[in-house]
Every structure is written in structure tokens, then in C-alpha cells.
Amino acid sequence: MNVLLVVLLVLPLLGAAALLVPGPLGAVAVRFGLAVSGVVFAVAVAVASAFDYSAAGRVQGTVDLAWIPWLGVRFHVGIDGISLPLVVLTALLTLLCLVYLAGHRPPRVRELVFALLVLELGMIGTFLALDLLLFFVFFEVVLIPMYFVIAVWGGEGRRRAAYKFILYTLLGSAVLLVGLLYVWAQTGTLDMVRLAAEHPMSRTAQILAFVAIGLGLAVKTPMWPLHTWLPDAHTEAPTVGSVLLAGVLLKMGTYGFARVAIPILPEGAAAVAPWLGALAVVGIVYGALACLAQRDLKRLIAYSSVGHMGFVLLGFATLTPVGINAALFGNVAHGLITGLLFFLVGALKERHGTSDLDQLGSGLLGRLPYVGSLLTFACVASLGLPGLAGFWGEMLALQGAYEPAAGLPRGLFVTFMVIGGLGAVLTAAYFLVMLSRLTHGPWGGPGPTLHDATRVELTAWVPLVVLILVFGLWPSALLRLTTPAVHALLGVP
């Protein structure tokens, strides 16, 4: 198990390094990337099967080596019920992205595969790290490759969007670093496990640290009003970039709340939770309203992410096992659903040359039955239909808000619940409006020459569809994993 975790990090790194070597590998870059990410996914599955589910709340497979003694930085990784689903999700989405690339020959494919493998390294590393600075290093690893993915393979306004993405998120990271170092300055250790068990900081220091760390994570999540980089980045990024951005990168922010901010700084979290909850529900409503006004399909889905992340943050803000479970569930569900949505929208954009709702025309179900029906499925999952994965995250978050942790103002959180519920209705509204304009109605727009989903595309999409169904119908598959970890995190029996 310990070895497997290191292999998870070393494989993408070696794969990326191999692509740097000039030579014949460039010609088969996609296949090579497929092989590497396939093995990484296999290792992730092996980790999941070797995982001791009876002790999901405990950190397993720990590797703890000295790295930079002078700074007190250790190479300390491990996995528990919170990080396991995210690691598997990351490995899966990266693999599916490469499967998708196999059917589409983008220009400069070698560099793209290189960037994707480095991204995978950063994402998996963030979820495995148990040392505050190691976490930060991995958190930063994704910035440069994602910048290039947007800036090189993106759409029309890619340069501006890429700058906005990297500058905005770096500002967040820098504030996060200040917060992490403040924790270090107060406690003298960077060990997350120890810090989470001991809480050695005073209340004022915890509040200060939580604000800094929370702000840094909130930019990545993104939380309203720090979300403005997201619509541009998602809209301009190529399909694989959008999928990874929405599917995994945003989760790094929310994961930080579950791993760093809340367990290490419980008193700070309790003090800031009402503000977090308020901004979360504003995000839910704002995301929904912004979606109603969008004409571009990619932008619409980007704004819907703001809303969904609002639910996740609301779950965290309740500081109850139910709420945090909801947040973690919502995290994974959003990764699957929005990943699928971006794949589908990317496919539509590729076929029509645009993702503008007016130009796409109506009657998609008749024209492209596979793509159309999958899009309908993904939208319905995203709006939170019971029986699909999106439902549980939102429902449990609202339930958590109905009964927040002791010490939090209940009236306020019930208000949040009501507003959040309204937001869920608005979410349903914009997805249904979009579907009625796009999939139904008479045939319009460019005609019958378009081809429906190819075999490669279906290979990339079907696993996501299956998982959305599985987690929707059998939520305890995931909750069984997160619940003990959440209990350990909150210190409740």
C-alpha cells in the first residue's frame, strides 16, 4: 500500500519526463499517455482494493521521509476515506481525457499529453499530501501546466483567460501559503495529522489562519465573489482542460477545507462558518441566476459549477457530519457530472464549431440521438434529480444546514437552507430551459452531415454515466467511506 501511493506519484512524473526526451515517443504520445494513465488508474484501483474499509477514518499507507530538514518539510503522504475517492476520480478522469484525445488529434499532442501527466501528478499529490508545505507544493504544480493547456489549446480568448486563471489562482495560493506558514509559526510543525489531533493554536490565531487559508482555498474552489476567473477559464479551455479543471482542480480547493482548514483550525472554522455559509448560498443563487442569462453552453456549465460548489461550501459551513459528508459527496458527484457535461459540450462544439445556444439550434435529440440523450442525462443529474449522483450532495447539504453544529446560529442556517433550496429550484429551471431550447423542438441549424457519438467518445463517457447512476442509486458506497473519516475529522465518536 505504501509503495502503491508512491507509485501513484512517480508514474506520471516518469511518464512526463519520458516525453521530454526527444525521440520517437512523440509520434505515439497519446498511446503512451494512455498507457501511463491507464497504469496509474489501475494502481489507484489497487489502492482502493487494498484499503482497509473497516478503518476508513484512519490514515493508511503512510510514507514519511525527511525532505528538507532545514525547513521542516517532510515527504509525508497517506490516504484515508476522504482522499481515496478523489484519488480514484482523478486517475479515472485523466484516463478518460486521454481516451478522448485518442479520438481527436489535437495539434502539438506530445506537449498536451505532457501537460496532462504533470497535472495528474499535482492533483494526486495534493490529495495524498499530509505535510502542509508538501500539500502547497503539489497545489502549485497544477498551475503552469493548466496555464499552458488553456493558453495553447484554448479557444478565441484563450490568452486573456489563461492569464486571468493563473494570476487569480496564484494570488489565492500566495495567501494560502501565508496562512500555512502562520500555522507553522504558531505551532512549529507542518504535520497535518498531528495538527489535526492536537489543535495547539489559540482561538484568535485560529481565526486569522482560517481566514488566510480559507481565502486561498476559496479562490480555487471557487467561492462567490472570488469566482470570476472560472467562467473565462472554462469557456476558453479545450475539452480535456475543462474536464480536469471542473472535475478535479476545483476539488483541490474544497479538499483543502476538509483536510486542512476545518480539522486543524476547528475554532477558527466555527467563528467563520456563518460567513462561509452566507457566501456559499450567495454563490448558489448567483450561479443559478447567471446561468439563466448565459447564451454560451460552456459558460453556462461553468456558472453552474459556481452554484454546485456553493452547495459543497454550505455543507462544510454546517460543521456537522451530515454537512461535511454532503460536501465530500457533492465533490465527487460534481466531478463526475460536470466532467461528463464538459465532454458532451466539447463534442457539440467540435461538431457545430460553436457552443452558442442560439447557433446550435434546437432538435438535438433528433439530430444526434446519442449525444442529445447523454446531454439530457447529464443535465438532469446536474440539477439534482433523485436517483442520480447530484441529488445526494445537495439534499444532505440542505439537511445539514437545517441542523448545524452546536454553537452556530441555527436561525441563520435555516435561512441559508431555504435560500439554498430556492437556488436548487433555479438550477432545475435553467437546465430545463436549456434542454428545452437545445434538445427538443424541430430540427434547426446545420443539418444531417453531423456524425453522432463515435466509439472512442462513448468509451470516454460511459464510465461516467455508470458511476453517476451507481452513486445515485447506492450513495452509501461513498458515504460508508467518508463517514468514519468525517467523524474522525470532527472528533465525534
Binding site: I68, W70, G122, E140, Y147, F148, A151, Y163, V178, A185
Partner: protein, 471 residues
């Protein structure tokens, strides 16, 4: 009274000084042929290597030029070794770069290497100096040859202007610093740093406080010119651009490190008791320096000007931990900075262009240079995969946060973002599709690229290499 001299302690500057004289003589007596130019360059490199070996071999603390019951003027300790190693390593890269520059033949070779070695001898002496007079002499030994080096290219108006600017600024700064030093000497009656600290620790004499404060401020201002800290920064871009590229690299790394070494010595050894006076000043200087440097760098289109302002901004990051009276973090940052900055200068020397757009498509046209420059720039920005830069920033952030200067940490955070904008803009150009054929520098410059890149990558993989030396 005859002082006993520990020749082993002063071996490194001695070797450099002797080699400087030798190079000058050899050039005068040997025929002016390309082969001789290369041989003189190799001789200079050999002297640097010998001095470096001495520095590495010097373990523990060695003192010499001692006055009984007062103190020693020359002390070799761990920090000295790091600074001397930094100066010599950077000096070797500068020599390799100058071998490319000198191949053009419009610069007298002997004088060039003589001046270079003299400046490096000063840079190695300075961190070991423990009295004010020695400090000033060493600092001038670093500064004076650089004016001449800047102006050594014949019939180059820009170079002459740059040299004049540098000269005027430097003389003014020296004058200001000497005035500050005379005030300190007047109050304490001592020139040795330890003796000054001891004298200032005595119960206060009436009227001494303000004079010491003024003296301290003037000394800080004097060093501020040398390290191009705001508001003494305005000369940087013009001088860097006007000087030959190897001299610009020397200015941005060796001169700067020497200036910082002096500043750290005076502040932490002579004036530790006055820290209440100078820490706020240094903190404000740090914040101003990084902000102004970064903002000025934003609009630059000339690569050397951009690197000039970026190195001003980087000075701000070095100053920041000094504001918490911590010398180790500042030293560590300087070492990391030297490696990354020299990599950038080496590539600019190997593939010279007058605009940033000239570097479009460098990665596909010349993968080694392109990737090295991209790595250096990302290091300077402080992001992975440039872990050296990231750890340098973490070290500094850590001291600043631990020292309770929260506002400065926030200013630094904002500045890393401003800095990223122009670094990433240049980096992105490297990866755009290539359009034109490009000329390239000569062999030694490529060796310099290789050496500097290898060191920067080494620091990224194992930052402990530097940090452990600091103790």
C-alpha cells in the same frame, strides 16, 4: 606592533588578486591572438576554481588581522563561506559568458579579466570583513572595477553613459555611507563591528540616540544604492542595458550579493541593539523595492531591462527577512536567486535579442536554451517546476510570518502575482510556434547555460544543499 597573518584564512582573495596581476602581465607580453584570449579566460577560471576549493575546504571559524582586546578585522565563518562560494560560482559563470563577449575582439582581454578578478576578490573579502574600514574598502573593490568593465567596450556610447551613471550613483552612495560610518565612529570610537555593538550597549550617553539613528539610516541608504533598493533604484535598468551582458549578470548577482553581505553585517553585527530603528525602515524599503521593481518590469520589452527590474524586485524579497533581523533566510534567498538569475542571463547571452518577441519559438528552435530560460523564469516567478524559486520564497515568507510582519507577507503575496505576469508572458513566448531563424552566441556561453541550469535544477531537487550549509 606586528600582526600575525593567517594566510590560509585569506587564501581565497589572495589567489584572486595574484591571478589578476598575472593575467594583466600575460596579456601585455603575449601576442594578441584568439588562442591567447581563450587561455587567459581559462587561467581566470582556474583561479576561481582554486579559490572555490579553498573556500570549500575552510571549515570552522578562522580569524586574522586581530587587534588584541578589540577584535578581528577578517573572520571566516559559515555565512562567509556561503557568500564567497556564491561570488565565485557566479564569477565562473560570468567568466564563461565573457569568453563569448570577448571573442568579438573589441574589448582588451587582459584588462577585462584583471578587473573581473579584482571585483571578485572584493566580493570574497567583503563578507569576511569585520570592521567598517575593511568593509568600505572591500565594497569599493567590488564597485570600482565594474565602472571600468561597463565602459570597456570601445566606441560604445551607451556603455559609456551607463558607466558614468553607475559611477556617479556609486560615488554618491559611498559618500553617504562614509558619512554614516563617521557618525558611528564618532559616537562609539570604534571601527570593529563587535566593538561598536558593545559600545552602543553601554548605558546611553546624552544625545547619542539620534546621531546613531542618523548614522544607521545613512549606512542603510548607502548600501541601498548598491543593491538597487527603492528609492535608490533608478540607475538599474539603464546601466544593465548599457553594460555588456556579462557585466549586467555580474552587477545583478555578485555586486548585489556583496551589497547585501555588507548590509547584513553592519545591521546584525554592529547595530543589533538599534534594531528598533532600522527594522521598520528595512521593512518599508523591502515592500517598496519589490512593488516598484515588479511594476516597472511589467511594461518592459527589452529582455535585459526586464531582468534589471526583476532583479530590483527580487532584492525586495531578500530585504524582507532582514527586516525581521534574520540573515539566514536572506542569504538562502540570495543563493537561489543567483542560480536562477544567472541561468536567465546566460541564455540571453547565448541567444541575444533586443526584444522579448525575439524569443518567440525558442523552445522549438533551440530546445536546450528555450527550456533553460523557461525554467529560470518559472523559478524566478516561484512556481513548480521551478522548486528552487518556490522554496526560496517559502524560506522568506516563513521568516516574515514568524517575525510578525503580517502586512509585509501580504505585500509579498501580491507581488508574487505581479511578478508572475511578466515572467509568464516571457515564458509563454518561448513556447509559441517559431517564425524566424536566429543567431546564437559562442561555445563558452552555452557551457555557462549548462552550468547555471544544472545548479538551478540541483537546488530545485535538493534545496537542502544550500540550506544545510547555512547551519
Amino acid at each position: 606592533m606586528i600582526q600575525s597573518i593567517d594566510y590560509w584564512a585569506i587564501a581565497a582573495p589572495l589567489i584572486l588578486a595574484l591571478a589578476a596581476g598575472l593575467v594583466l602581465l600575460l596579456e601585455a607580453f603575449l601576442p594578441a591572438r584568439p588562442g591567447v584570449r581563450t587561455a587567459l579566460g581559462c587561467l581566470t577560471l582556474a583561479a576561481l576554481a582554486a579559490a572555490f576549493a579553498v573556500v570549500v575546504a575552510q571549515r570552522g571559524v578562522r580569524e586574522t588581522f586581530c587587534v588584541p582586546s578589540v577584535g578581528c578585522s577578517y573572520v571566516v565563518d559559515a555565512t562567509t563561506v556561503v557568500f564567497a562560494g556564491l561570488a565565485l560560482g557566479a564569477g565562473a559563470v560570468v567568466v564563461l559568458l565573457s569568453m563569448g563577449q570577448l571573442a568579438e575582439g573589441d574589448i582588451p582581454v587582459g584588462e577585462w579579466y584583471f578587473l573581473l578578478l579584482a571585483a571578485l576578490a572584493g566580493a570574497v573579502t567583503l563578507p569576511a570583513s569585520r570592521d567598517l574600514i575593511m568593509l568600505v574598502v572591500a565594497l569599493e573593490l567590488v564597485s570600482l572595477p565594474v565602472f571600468a568593465l561597463t565602459a570597456l567596450r570601445r566606441y560604445d556610447g551607451r556603455g559609456a553613459e551607463a558607466a558614468l551613471k553607475l559611477f556617479v550613483v556609486s560615488v554618491v552612495s559611498t559618500a553617504v555611507m562614509l558619512f554614516g560610518i563617521s557618525l558611528l565612529y564618532g559616537i562609539t570610537g570604534a571601527v570593529h563591528l563587535d566593538a561598536i555593538a558593545a559600545a552602543l550597549a553601554q548605558p546611553e550617553r546624552p544625545g547619542a540616540g539620534p546621531v546613531v539613528a542618523v548614522g544607521a539610516v545613512m549606512v542603510v541608504a548607502g548600501f541601498g544604492f548598491k543593491i538597487a533598493a527603492v528609492p535608490f533604484h533608478f540607475w538599474a535598468a539603464d546601466v544593465y542595458q548599457g553594460a555588456p551582458i556579462p557585466v549586467a549578470a555580474l552587477l545583478s548577482v555578485v555586486s548585489k550579493a556583496a551589497g547585501f553581505a555588507g548590509l547584513i553585517l553592519v545591521l546584525t553585527q554592529a547595530l543589533p541593539g538599534e534594531s528598533a530603528t532600522w527594522t521598520p525602515i528595512v521593512a518599508v524599503l523591502a515592500a517598496l523595492t519589490m512593488t516598484v521593481g515588479n511594476v516597472l518590469a511589467l511594461r518592459q520589452t527589452h529582455p535585459v531591462r526586464l531582468l534589471a527590474w526583476s532583479s530590483v524586485a527580487q532584492s525586495g524579497y531578500v530585504l524582507a527577512p532582514i527586516a525581521t533581523t534574520d540573515a539566514q533566510a536572506a542569504t538562502a534567498y540570495l543563493v537561489f536567486y543567483a542560480a536562477m538569475n544567472l541561468t536567465a542571463f546566460a541564455v540571453v547571452m547565448a541567444v541575444p535579442h533586443d526584444t522579448l518577441d525575439g524569443y518567440r519559438g525558442l523552445v522549438s528552435a533551440r530546445p536546450v536554451a528555450g527550456l533553460a530560460l523557461a525554467f529560470a523564469l518559472i523559478c524566478l516567478a516561484g512556481l513548480p517546476p521551478g522548486l528552487a524559486g518556490l522554496f526560496a520564497k517559502v524560506v522568506v515568507f516563513r521568516e516574515v510570518v514568524a517575525g510578525g510582519l503580517g502586512w509585509l507577507a501580504v505585500v509579498m503575496a501580491v507581488n508574487t502575482v505581479i511578478g508572475l505576469y511578466y515572467y509568464i508572458a516571457w515564458t509563454a513566448r518561448l513556447f509559441t510556434p517559431a517564425d524566424a531563424t536566429r543567431r546564437a552566441g559562442s561555445g563558452p556561453a552555452w557551457i555557462a547555460v549548462g552550468v547555471a541550469t544544472a545548479v538551478a535544477v540541483g537546488f530545485s531537487v535538493a534545496p537542502q544543499l544550500v540550506l544545510a550549509t547555512l547551519g
